[in-house]
Structures are given as C-alpha cells and as structure tokens.
Symmetry: D2
Subunit: 364 residues, 4 copies
Amino acid sequence: MKNTMGQSVCVTLFGESHGPEIGAVLDGLAPGIPVDEAYIAEQLRLRRPAGRISTARQEADPFRIVSGVFEGRTTGTPITLLIPNGDTRSGDYARGPARPGHADYTAWVKYHGFEDYRGGGHFSGRITAALVAAGAIARLALSGRGITLGSRIARCAGVADAEWTDPASELPELNRKAFAVLDEERGERMREAIEAAAKEGDSVGGVLETVVLGMPAGVGEPWFDTVESVLAHALFSIPGIKGVEFGDGFALAEKRGSAANDAFRLSDGEVRTRTNHNGGINGGITNGMPIVFRCAVKPTPSIGREQETVNLISGEETSLRIAGRHDPAIVHRARAVVDSVTALVLCDQLALRFGTDALGEEEK
Amino acid sequence: MKNTMGQSVCVTLFGESHGPEIGAVLDGLAPGIPVDEAYIAEQLRLRRPAGRISTARQEADPFRIVSGVFEGRTTGTPITLLIPNGDTRSGDYARGPARPGHADYTAWVKYHGFEDYRGGGHFSGRITAALVAAGAIARLALSGRGITLGSRIARCAGVADAEWTDPASELPELNRKAFAVLDEERGERMREAIEAAAKEGDSVGGVLETVVLGMPAGVGEPWFDTVESVLAHALFSIPGIKGVEFGDGFALAEKRGSAANDAFRLSDGEVRTRTNHNGGINGGITNGMPIVFRCAVKPTPSIGREQETVNLISGEETSLRIAGRHDPAIVHRARAVVDSVTALVLCDQLALRFGTDALGEEEK
Amino acid sequence: MKNTMGQSVCVTLFGESHGPEIGAVLDGLAPGIPVDEAYIAEQLRLRRPAGRISTARQEADPFRIVSGVFEGRTTGTPITLLIPNGDTRSGDYARGPARPGHADYTAWVKYHGFEDYRGGGHFSGRITAALVAAGAIARLALSGRGITLGSRIARCAGVADAEWTDPASELPELNRKAFAVLDEERGERMREAIEAAAKEGDSVGGVLETVVLGMPAGVGEPWFDTVESVLAHALFSIPGIKGVEFGDGFALAEKRGSAANDAFRLSDGEVRTRTNHNGGINGGITNGMPIVFRCAVKPTPSIGREQETVNLISGEETSLRIAGRHDPAIVHRARAVVDSVTALVLCDQLALRFGTDALGEEEK
Amino acid sequence: MKNTMGQSVCVTLFGESHGPEIGAVLDGLAPGIPVDEAYIAEQLRLRRPAGRISTARQEADPFRIVSGVFEGRTTGTPITLLIPNGDTRSGDYARGPARPGHADYTAWVKYHGFEDYRGGGHFSGRITAALVAAGAIARLALSGRGITLGSRIARCAGVADAEWTDPASELPELNRKAFAVLDEERGERMREAIEAAAKEGDSVGGVLETVVLGMPAGVGEPWFDTVESVLAHALFSIPGIKGVEFGDGFALAEKRGSAANDAFRLSDGEVRTRTNHNGGINGGITNGMPIVFRCAVKPTPSIGREQETVNLISGEETSLRIAGRHDPAIVHRARAVVDSVTALVLCDQLALRFGTDALGEEEK
C-alpha cells in the first residue's frame, strides 16, 4: 500500500505539482454525513499562502467532487475530490540540480529518472491541498459526533505562542485564523521573524501543537496500531515534519514518574485524569482526555541562497540558487494539513472500533 | 490488523505477562538466512534488567523456535518464537486500582473487564521480549547485507551522553553494552541518578538515539509510507515511547533553511550529503546517509509513591502505592526493543522494495 | 480497505453510473513503462456494448490520465484515469422498486438509503470501464516482461466454443475480437441464442476461460495469499461472476488422483508438467505452466419481463418490468474486465515477489 | 501479508508437518466470548482421518491455548493455539523426487531449497489443524449471535448426496457427523467408492457445499471486498480446493435471467427472496438469505501408483511411487477446514461492519 492510508476509512492521494489535476479518494466514510462545500473551501483557503509571508497565489483552490456525494450527503462509497493545477509555470522548473532538503535526489534513485520532476512532482507540498480537502470532510464527520480539533503554531522562528487557557473555547476562533496563534502579538513577532529570514533569502521552521477534544476512551490497539502509532504514521508523511511527540513528549524524558503519571479521578461519574502529561493516551489507547501532540516542521528547503549540490544528469558537483517564488515558512500552512490527517486517522480509528456506520446517519 | 506489523516482512505478537508463554511469529523473511540462536539470546539478555538499577530477574529468557527454521537457516515460512513466563507471581498482581500511567483503565474500557489484567497482561513490557527475539533475527538478516544499527542512551535522568565520534567504529562495542552509552563516566552518572530516584520511590526517563548504517538510497514512499512514517509507527508501539524525531528533529524547527538543508556532494562517485540534519531521509525516502532518530522514553509509571486513582470495579476514588519490584528506569532496556523494531521495519521496507529474496540466499 | 485492491500494485476504484466521472487510481506500478493510450482505448472499446446484441452506446469511452504518466511513461507514482459519464439519462432511473438480482436492496440496507441509486450507482457495471483502463496499463507492463493473457467465451447460452489448439498463437487474434471465441461459427450460434433470449425479454449467461502465458514459477504464498486466492478475490468483485475454478476445477472433483496429478518432466532443462490439470498452480504457487481459470458469468439481471419485488421506500410488495436499454448478455463484455483484473493481480504479485522495479525500466 | 488473513479479526498460521508444533494466532476477536475447549477438540476430531478410509492417526489433536483466553473467555487480545506434532516419522520423508500435484517443486523454486520439505513442510494439510482450532473459536463467536453454518459432502467419487430439505434443522446433526452427508446410504456408497480407489493405489475428489444461516443483510463491500471475494480468498488457500461457486454458481451460466433472478418478497415485514439462486449475496453484499457456496476438492495427490517426475537435486527425470500412509480422499476432512475459514471470514466481516465489540459481551 503506497499512496493510500487507513484501514476502514482510507484516503488515496494522487497528482503532481505541474500535472493537470491533483486529488484524493476518500473511501469508507459512513453514509449520510452532510458535505459542506463551503467548509472544504475554507480549509483549502487556510492551507493557501497567507499574505506577505508567502508566495503570490491567494484564492482558495477550486475543487470538484465527482463521486461519493449525492444530494449533499456522503453515500458511503468513495468520495473523489479533484483540484485543477491552474497556476503552474513549468518553465520555471526544468530539471535542474538536485535541490538540497528536497526529494529530488531520492526520487531520482527510486524512480530511475522517470519521475515528473517539475515543481517537485508528486512530492510537492501542492499535493497536500487534496489531503486538506479530504480531511475537511473527515472533520465534518467528526464534528457530527462532537469531536473537534485544531492546531496552533506553538513556536516559529524562535518565538513561542502563549499557552492554552481553555482549548474548548479557544478552538473555534483559532480554527478561523489564517495564522493560527493564541496570542496575536506573538504571532506578529513570528511573522516579523519570517520576513526577516525571507529578506536574507532564508527560511524558518516551527512547531505545531494539536488538540483533539471529545474522543471517546477505548480507541486504539495495544501493539503496532496504538493511537500514537497511527497518528505519527500519518503525520510523518506530511512534507517537512521531522518530529512528533505526544503529551509532554520529549519533556517527559526529563521528568520523574511521580511528575509524569496522570492521577485518575472521577468527574461526574466518569474516570478522568487530573493532569494530561500522556496526551490522552495510555498504553496506546485513548483515555477520554484531550489528545495532545506536537509536530516539528523544518524550515522550507527552498531558499534563495547559494547551495552546493550535484547535477543528477551529468553527475557533477555544482551550485544552485533557487529562483522564483517560495515560502519562507510553511508551518502556518502545514497546520491545515496536520488537522486534516488527524481527522482522517481518527475517522478510521472510530470506524474500526465502532463499525462503518459509526460516524453516519442510520435514518435518511 | 492489530497485533501484526509489516507488509512483506511481518511480525505478530502475542501473550500476556502472566500467561504460560509469550511469543512472536516473524513471517516473510527470505529463505536461507543463518539463524544464530546465541545472538538471539544475547539480545534477550540486553533487554533484561541490568544489575543494581533494575529488578531481580537476571538470566536471558529461554526461548524456543518451533517453526520456520530448518537446518539452522530460515525457510521463508513463518518463524515462531516462544518464550515461557517462568518467574511469574500472580499473587502480587490481583486486580487492584488502575495504576496511573499504565493501560489498566484504557484496557478496562476497551475490553470491558475481560482482559487479563495480571501484571499488565498483554500491555506488559514483558511482551517486548518476544519482539526482541524476532528483531534479533531481523538484525541478522540485515547484517548479511551490510546493514548495521544500534542505539545509545543519549539522555537519562538529566544526564547527557557524549556525542558520536564515528558510529561505524563505535557501534560494535556499544551494541555489546548492557547500559548503552558512549561515555562510561556519564553512564555512571546516569545510573547514580536512577538509583537516587529509586531511593525516593520514583523513576526516571530518557532519550534513545538510533543510528542505521548501510541502508541503500531509494527506499520508502512519498506519501503515507515514508520511512519516517513506518519507523515511527513501529516505535510508538513500544510501551513508554512518547516522542520520535528524525535527524535534528525538533531542533530543526529552530533553525533556518540554510542551516537545515544538507548540501549534496560526490564521494567516490556516489551522491552524499555534507551534513545529515535530515537523518538520512529526504521526501520520505532514504538518501544513502545514516538514518538517525531519537525516541523519548517516559519514566517508568510503576513507582513506589502513593498516587491518587480509581478502583475500576467499585467505581470509587482511592489511592495506590505500588508494592513489589519495578524498574526505576526502562530506557536502557527499551534500547533492545528500539533496535528490534527498527530492524523489523527495515527488513520489511527492503523486501517491499527489492522483493522477497532481498535479504536471503538464492543458492543453497 | 474497501474500493482498493492490491498490496504493492494497487488499484482504487470510484464513481457512480450517473455521476460526472468515474475513474481509477493505479498505484505502485514500476517507473518507465510505456503507456500506449491507443491500447487503453482499444481495451475500453472491447468492454463496450457490441453491435446487435448489446445496448446502443458504441464509441470507446474517452478517458484522461491526470497523474502518474510523464513523457509517455509511468513515473512510479499514482496513475489516475478519469472517464466522463457522457451518455447518462437520469430520468430513466428514478428510485424504483428493488431490481431482483441487482444490489438495490443490499445497497439500501448497507447505506441506509443515502446511496446514489441512479443506474445502480457505484454498483453499476459502468464502473468496470475504469477497471479496464487501469488493467490495460497493467497488461502493457506485463507484456514488457513477456507475460500475455486473454480470455475466451468458453460457453454462452448453452453453446460451447471450440477448444484451444495453441493459446500462444491464438491469443493475439482472440484479443482483438469484440466477441471472443476461437470458433466463429460457434460464436455466431451464441449470438443467435442471445438474440433469441433478448426477443423474449430475457437474458443469458456464460463462462469465460482465461489463459496466462509466461508467468515465472515461484510466485504466490502457501497460505491465504495463494495465487488462486488473490485471483479469485479480484475476479469475484466483478459484477455477475458467481464461480471461479482453476485448471480442471470442478471437473477435478470427479477425477482420480492418477488423472488429476500433472507429471513433472524436463523441457530444455526446465521443469515442466506433461498436463496442466492444476492450471499452472501447485500449493498456491505458480509452477511456470500457463495459468488457466474459468469464471461463471450469470445472466444479466436486467430483463424486460415482469418480476415480483418490493418497493423499498413504501415497504410494500410490487411488481417491476424494467424498461429502457439493457444487455441481454454481459459475458462478452465481462471478458475485458476479467483480463484487466487478472493483469492487475499479476502485476501486484510480481512486484511483491521481485520488488517494485520488477516490471519497469532501470535506465531512462 | 503472507500467512495472515483478515483485517479486523485476523488469523496467522505457522508450523511445518514435521516441526515440533504448529499453531495459529487468532487476533481481534471481541472480548468476553466463552471458549469451549471441548468444542475445539470436537472440531479437531472431525478434521482427523476417519476410520477405514483414512490413515491411521485417530485421536483428536491435543492443543494448548497460551494467550488471549482468561477465566474461560476471550480477552480481546491475540489467542494463540499450539498443537504439538506428536506422531511424525521424518524417516519416511527424506527429500525425494518432487511429488506431482504437491507443492514440492513450487516450494523449491520459491524458497531456493531452504524449505523444510519433510512431509510437505509448511504446505502440509497438517497445518489445517491449527486453522480448524482457530475456526472453532470463531464458530463459537458466531453462534453467540445466532449465526450457524455447516458443510456437507455434496459429491464424492461420482456419488451425489441427497439435497437439503431444511438446513436449519439438518445442520445440527450434520455437524456432528465424521462423514458429513445428509443421506447415509449415499454416504456409504461414497465410502465404498473411496475404498475402491484406495485398493487401486488411487484417490478421489469431491464437492463440499456450505450453508450459513443467520447472517444479517448489508455486510460486504461493492468492489474488491465483496463477500464472495473474501470467502473465496480464504477458501482457495485450503490445500486441494480448485473451484468455488456461490448460489447456483456455474449452473447460473446456463440459465436465463428470468430463472436466475431471485424475486423479492416480504416475510414478517422483512425483505426476503423467493429463491436463492444468488446464494445470499447481491452486488457482493449479504441480503439476509442463507449464504450458500460449493468448493471443488481435488483428489489427494499422494497416490500409490508410479508417477513420472523430476529429482530436484540432481535435475534429472525419474519416477516415483509414494510409499507410506496417505488418504485416498480428503473431501470429508476438508469439510472442517472449510467450516473454519468460513467462520473466520464472517467474524472479520462482522467486526469490520459493526465494530470490534460486535461478537462479544459488553458487560462482564
């Protein structure tokens, strides 16, 4: 299984940066889920370059749903989303030297030079648009069951956002922001730092923190398909993500057990934990607390500075200065992708646990 | 698919902490690979409690191979490893209140109380012995192709190990150590810190760093089954692991692109990178450089201190002080497990990429 | 995994009979395989209704490849094929009573009435066009390795075709025929029998026999993923197929072992069998002889005669006479679908066995 | 995935004919299902050679459950069944010439001679004992939900059994018979025909017919994972099965649509069909009627007559007369295996459709 993820709810991704269309097939979602196309468009807009810190394309990507939705609701059969690649300028991207930090060289080895190299081809971040469109439908399915989620830019270019006060009340507003921070003043400092890097032909990275509210306890498997495993699997397929941690994550490694364990207590008859150092997951299985994780997003590899590299066709060392438009940061855009794959994974987990009708309507 | 991992080379894990036997089925490994039982025993020994900082069981676990090995070599059909649970004292572990940080509560929700709760049952770290035995065979398969790997305790209880000088020359010795550090003096400080925590009825965590040498370039998939995805999936199923990062990982989020990209160069006609900030993986695919990743291991949740919790049967709040033997740290033991699942994943990746004969012998 | 088939080479199918487009994503095929669009069109034409014994649509379906092919060759990344549904008349197909022999009722139960019921929706034979397009590329991949295949109408409406004389020399011509019989005179009698049934508002079934030449020995697994298992799995997903048999199949049940075993002999130093009662497969694994199997195709369930049924919305018994165009036989059209899924399965088996480059080019 | 079958409820099979133990891991079954070891023993007895028409081993195989069952019920974690190979005489089975009709040659090609060839090794029908033990637990799970099944020898050695009168009332007695026929007189004629073949050093085949009662409607998928697909996949992995047909199967190919369609009617408010030519499945999905299918079982390939073959080691043509005990028919023994894999597949289908708790108990 290659460009397909999931067991009961599956997504298959296809397309290249400069091909005619990219898209996704979202299969296995329960029948009867209302599909709000405006919401999908909104999610696509959040993934798009944002204002002065990004490249020029600005409108939400147009998309078509060509299967699996009938009279405004999911049918239960595969949903296919297509997004045309309108604004491509292949002339910018003839096969050049391998771009450091990109997949140019590894694609060359794996595909023996037959890959569509233009604009990164199938490896391009462009493809995440299709993932976001599919993920938007998954989020709609989850919200119908009271499960909500969102991500904030916890760190960017060395600037930290403020901490959560109350995710349940902060998520709605956060999820509408193009640059997802809790504290706007810190967000402004992040954007300034991004611009400063851009002026030097350089780029910056960041950390996204995701919170999921409302997941029932008892989902996940003890071995191999722990909730951490299936989430990390999906998250690490997002271009640029190089680290994933749950709960206190790497900070747990520095703590003592007495400070890392989450004491159990009762809350309205339900078992809850006093703290959430383990990010809502014990033994690989959800415990009913918020699922919390963070993703490290590396700085955009496309930079304007000269870099040493190799010309793959001639097999000679050379240098490269990447011209044209490129994002000085992708962390704010990766947020929509992280939200999407999270939603897709959770739909799959819920369908595996509670059956294929779990997220849908039983009565038309 | 629950307790099975892999696509071409698969491992299925079974057993409970206090059942008669635990074990693993390792399927899909190529025929003709020599199976060195002494090496398996050695790996099991490295997973066992080590000296003064661990619980009392000391000998390597006895194991039996009941299928898939004939005349000392793999046959290509499923290899079944069985390890008896000799030293169990079920009396110690009657169903008590849910232990914080453990899977007691989540197992209760998922399995409706039918789970074998004794000693953590199927969630017990005990089960990793079977994983280590299977992983030992996978490592033998890899080493027959010149692929070696090993992990060191990069941090434990706030103490950092020294950095690698030359992994290729350091791995052989490191891989024989029960407490895997490069710098013995720092290792001694780690052990002292572990003992200090133990005296206070507490436990500590740590960070493991793994290096894989010799992996060919071009292995992995662009989406969903990136090498990072499949490794993280496997690693996050190891009890206690709460974070995984590749290359510079979370530190990459703080760097600029010019410091994060790995410039390409030629080395004896081969494309290599000058640095390895990306941990040997670009676009989800191996680039021929060492694969490097780190795992955050949380402090052992079994501690001697009193903790607040809930009695699952009565549904009442209570407190708990865990008696009996427990490890004040598992990071040094988790290392054998990390090495094992890494080897299992890489065997699977190589078989998917190069076919089911990739790691075996074609001529008897 | 629902509308996706395969492990290393996978196909995902989507679309509904009366939606805007149907299609398939073919993933995992090796890079460098020449993609001949005229050949795809030819296969689509063979699946189309043929002359007087079928419904009116006649041209090959137009199709677009929107990903995975670059400069005329496969890239190794997902190939997406889209086929518009030009000639749909939804007015013909408002939700009526459940058609006997169709999936109307089972879809209603499974999808709770949210399914796109028009023209059979996602269950329609129409969807096989996408499967045929994907299968055509798989056949091109196989033929590049000397593996050829084809199917004949062994029986239809009670008339038997002549037997094979020499499949290797008969396949090329057979594969160009719209009505695939070895003996044209018998084919004419079949068509007459189909017409006779059509005049009575009825339909007929048939048996397809498939031969695969050139498959190497040693492909398949002893348990669960035997070659028979994976082929039958795929074949039984073709609408209307209700039986699959390999080699002498059900006739073997009537034979004695001495007449059923295929004696081994040497041929130019290669082990071959004198007879091929086992259809090229022993113990689930190819033995280097032709793979031979037959599929039973039931008579088209859409018939012009009055049938008893139930109105699903009102929950009342009623009767139904299906108006509009329908095929009095689909066996001749199912042949292109059988060939396609066979090719897809074999590509997957070869990639699993010999690696992802098995069917492609290593040098551009 | 090789020796593992299933998606939510999975079985992994291991062992060789002459190894120390064979076994199976049954994973994903819901918690709380009572495990009746006497019932498992009974099923193993039905798979054993029966009296005068079979080889000498007679007792039910002893077995051990080493995981996944606690206090007499399933825990929800992997159930491991081990069966020792007590009565092996490896001396009988040194590597001889490839036995026609067996997997000796294909195993040699696939495993390069490293396979455990003794007694057929991993390909031996012996391994089905583990499958039967696992299947017995699956049948217990189904019967707790009112789903029952059984198979009869519809044909053997040219003799047909009588037809079903009322499967619901006939199944209980049939399922206790060692030689599963409805009509004992015809069963006696079958046994005589088997003995006659045996006296001539030959063997016979037969046809098994399986009926499943009580399956709910709406289970299965439209494409690729149709109920026919997943059942056939499993059935074709049983050694000796060369044909599978559902409902009227190949006979449907000879019928007209008006005689093949099953008219819908109402029965106590439920939609049912008047006839069951489609075997309880429309469009790949269960329709609530009995599931009916037949399997062609080829004659045992081990025969006492001289056969032409090849010596794989020397690469020379030779002849072979198989000495020692062998069954002149396996159709009566294959019945327990067919029942078992059917039960395993249906448990998986129900868990996928209705969730992992579908077959278990929610309250301890």
